[in-house]
Symmetry: C2
Subunit: 577 residues, 2 copies
């Protein structure tokens, strides 16, 4: 037997017990005649003591142990003379009577500590060592707990966990598929799913009523810092539901998850329309941890001879509470920040609200204090605040102001990682027009139904049609989204038609789904949450790589196993390449 | 709102309640003035009634409803005049006051009944309709329950659910990999995992201690009736364990699963050595639902001038309890059965034990009754039994007798689908010699450790080395297997060496694992269960296709979505093909 207890288990009530522990040497403290070792496993750290007085040979042997050696020790639990209140096992130690080296260790290429000295590249290469660090291991454990909380909720709500296939068919629409050549069917390919969308809809046609799956999905994209070619979705679908049923079911799920994983009550999740979200936050995934909402200054800032404003479609402000403390230099830095190509603003106007109530702007030439007072009133600014103003095309200026709001919010400490605020965004446009291709594109996907009242506008005014769709955002990041689906073959045809599919294309790619709709498809809808992103938010990390056991790097490579890699000649031949 | 209740929910205590139900028209019974409809959803069936007397128009409309139409009805729960005790809702019906057709249905290509008239091909093509049948839907629900039971047990036992990557590296050893061309790294390929073996071992190196995952695995094999290119494993690994720890943990899991899913106590699971299993059952996955064990007749049947026996390495019998009732014609059929090429026996000897105790064999010429008495004694045969005897090379004759035992057991009704018997088989050979290639092959895989006592024989007598491995069989089918792994780089090298890997090959394919072993790898071991097979056994079906929502056919095709399929030219170009 390798252990009677784990390294996180022993307390003062075990004093006097003979125990066997196994684990890793975290730290050795060598006082010559006296040696202490911190023995580590997933469950904690237990101090081992060796004393020359009792056993000279054993103490010598202990002095030879290096970091990360794996040992099995036998001894008695004794009270510790100098207690450590920071760890649960800090009141006891093991007086070791015997031990065995189970495996030696080379010196690790970086320290196995919360604050490691290893860079990302080397830590990815030795991911199995990086995973020994609590900082990472705790995140995997949190992910496992989250997973369980989600399943518990959905199982209790009567959802059935069904696996859908991974080897499916390529649909050239949307993001790029990873494909898999079929040896048995030369010249033909499977594709890996970007989501189980059509399968979960077919499960509704099959009467399964409530489906869920926590499932790997795949997207062959040009990788950005925080994208992975394989990612995990909490994928759900329900029959005989309307939007409100979905929202309440999954508000319940998310609140439950936060409660069981973080003991946090998220509270009721507010519902914003897409138009509202864009107007108030300039974003369809607003960070609701703080206010600083966008204020429309059109009425009070136009027509004063300042051509930048006069020619702008929209003038938008935010009021930074207590922001008058920013120096001129800091304000200039904001201007530089919004002028970077990523944001693309031409300039930034500010107006200080001084402690004495006087107002001072960067456009005093055009706006006297009476006029600035109108700005301040519109923004409900108070003494000590700062008003920041951008202008231009409405869509663009809102997006820019969203970025600035998040940036200033970050600086102001309004976006702490241990605070969480969720919201629903609903009533998205069904389709958006792409100037370049001259085509309408589905904002979500082609299976999303229009809001019933807007159906008739699909032919006459597609851009005005709202989708019966919903997204959930937490802390300014999209964590989930879905829609009430089309379940009617004729409507689905009209949708494909609107998106520029020929009848043949629609039939070839989604014929099986449209056929299925002819055999009694129920009304249905669903949602999918990004498990990686949700875990990262709960874990308080910005990178989803931190919550994936073996992530790929920015080039889609696993540098630990060195994949992808060339095939050998036999394999190529068998695949007819 | 689409429903206030499901179709399986209403009872006599709901009488008088106004309800809304949605579901499918299972059956319409038309009495002209009176129409009854069975409305179906996942939860059950509720009878709807329409009466010309109350509402002529509505009754007429109801008479137009076809099978599988989706409707939403509103009405009052009333007591049923002719009660149906076979279904939980059989004492009530809905007096419908209004209904709406949510979707029409074409006539399904086969009947949606437990006993359908559809062949397998058409049912696979319209799988979404096949899945409406209780016979299939119940199996998916059972699978979901099994899944939950497994997770509950493992979560409670401190296992962490960790996802390992799907896009990994090809290892040309073993079965064929499915590969995925990388667009970002032209000429390079990912492979889909045949199992997460190396990753779960790395998780042990990382100190995760107890890992599990229910995960899709992939194997590009020539498909047999009951193989799927993608299949699901319950994959587990533990650190600081010996064989007994694994056996007791997973005996607990399997017993727990049977208890929670089927309310069956499997009892303690017996442990057989491989040698014992082969000797007693001729199989390393014996069906323990019944006895009829193999009996060695060498001592009592050799040296009587019957050259078939005299020249055989082994003479093996089974005693068929009450088998003397088989007619001569039936015995001839057994002989034909064992002579088929799949079995390959040259003949079958029998000996009847008559009701009066007299013995009558097919080889009376060589064996008089005194000699046959020795057979009967060896087989502990009683009046009315039948002894069946095969002879030949030991390995071959045992396998043949295993097949015959299963065949006769089936005929005798000794293998009912609702009876379950599990066993562990341990002490497998580590390697087996392949005459053709002149190489030793790993019986499990190259990461399996030899039993400590046998380590030194690895160089001198590889064939005699036992593996520290274990399989679990239920009802004669392998459901799981695993081993205590090698965690020592030197031993792993010796193993690769024995299997004929050059140092370069070993380094290229598994270098990352062997490197990991140098940084304090703990002793560890694990197991994987086939979820598809386990579900099929619990569901009492012979085909794993019945427990997979969207299975592929024997050619690895999904005939519903028609995959695999050719790629379009753009996709090929992007992939550099």
């Amino acid at each position: 037997m390798h252990r009677t207890h784990t390294c996180g288990e022993l307390r003062t009530n075990h004093i006097g017990t003979q125990v066997t522990l196994s684990g890793w040497v975290q730290r050795r403290t060598d006082f010559g005649a006296l040696t202490f070792i911190d023995l580590r496993d997933r469950y904690g750290i237990t101090q081992l003591s060796f004393n020359e007085e009792y056993n000279k040979e054993l103490n010598e042997k202990a002095r030879s142990l290096g970091r990360e050696f794996v040992i099995k020790v036998h001894g008695e639990v004794i009270e510790r003379s100098s207690k450590n209140d920071k760890i649960p096992t800090g009141h006891i130690e093991i007086k070791v009577t015997d031990f065995e080296i189970l495996n030696a260790s080379l010196t690790p290429p970086f320290t196995i500590e919360d604050d490691t000295d290893g860079g990302e590249e080397i830590r990815l290469k030795y991911r199995y060592l990086d995973l020994r660090r609590n900082a990472i291991q705790d995140k995997l454990i949190l992910r496992s707990k989250l997973n369980k909380a989600v399943r518990d909720y959905l199982n209790n709500a009567g959802f059935i966990d069904v696996e859908t296939p991974v080897l499916i068919k390529s649909t050239p629409e949307g993001a790029r598929d990873f494909v898999v050549p079929s040896r048995m069917n030369e010249g033909q390919y499977y594709a890996l799913p970007q989501s189980p969308q059509t399968f979960k809809q077919l499960l509704m046609v099959s009467g399964l009523d409530k489906y869920y799956q926590i499932v790997k999905c795949f997207r062959d994209e040009d990788f950005r810092a925080d994208r992975q070619p394989e990612f995990t979705q909490i994928d759900c679908e329900m029959s005989f539901v309307e939007r409100e049923d979905i929202l309440s079911t999954f508000e319940g799920m998310i609140r439950d998850v936060f409660q069981s994983v973080k003991e946090i009550d998220l509270g009721q999740i507010p519902i914003l329309t897409y138009d509202d979200a864009m107007k108030r936050f300039g974003s369809d995934k607003p960070d609701m941890r703080f206010g600083m909402e966008l204020v429309d200054l059109d009425d009070v800032a136009k027509g004063n001879g300042f051509s930048v404003f006069d020619n702008a479609e929209s003038i938008v402000a935010i009021n930074v509470k207590g922001g008058n403390t920013y120096t001129r230099k800091e304000l200039d830095a904001f201007t530089d920040w919004v002028k970077r190509p990523q944001i693309g603003a031409l300039g930034l106007i500010y107006c200080r609200v001084n402690e004495d109530g006087s107002l001072k702007s960067s456009v005093d030439k055009f706006f006297d204090e009476t006029k600035l007072k109108l700005w301040a009133d519109q923004c409900t600014s108070e003494a000590g605040d700062l008003i920041l103003v951008l202008s231009g095309k409405t869509d663009k200026v809102r997006k820019q102001m969203n970025e600035l709001r998040l940036h200033v919010g970050e600086l102001q400490g309004l976006r702490p990682k241990n605070k969480f605020a969720a919201c629903w965004v609903v009533d998205f446009p069904l389709v958006e027009y792409d100037e370049e291709s001259g085509k309408w594109h589905a904002m979500h996907h082609p299976f999303t139904s229009p809001i019933p009242a807007d159906r008739d506008k699909m032919q006459t005014d597609p851009g005005a049609v709202k989708a019966n769709a919903y997204d959930m955002a937490i802390n300014g990041m999209e964590v989930g989204g879905g829609s009430i689906r089309i379940h009617d073959k004729q409507l689905q045809k009209r949708m494909f038609d609107l998106l520029g599919f020929t009848e043949e294309e629609a039939q070839e790619q989604f014929g099986f789904l449209m056929n299925a709709f002819e055999y009694g498809a129920p009304p249905h809808g669903g949602i999918a949450f990004g498990l990686d992103r949700l875990t990262a938010i709960l874990a308080g990390t910005d990178s989803i790589r931190d919550v994936i056991a073996f992530p790929k790097n920015n080039m889609g490579r696993d540098i630990m196993i060195d994949a992808p890699a060339p095939l050998n000649a036999d394999q190529k031949k068998e695949l007819g390449m």
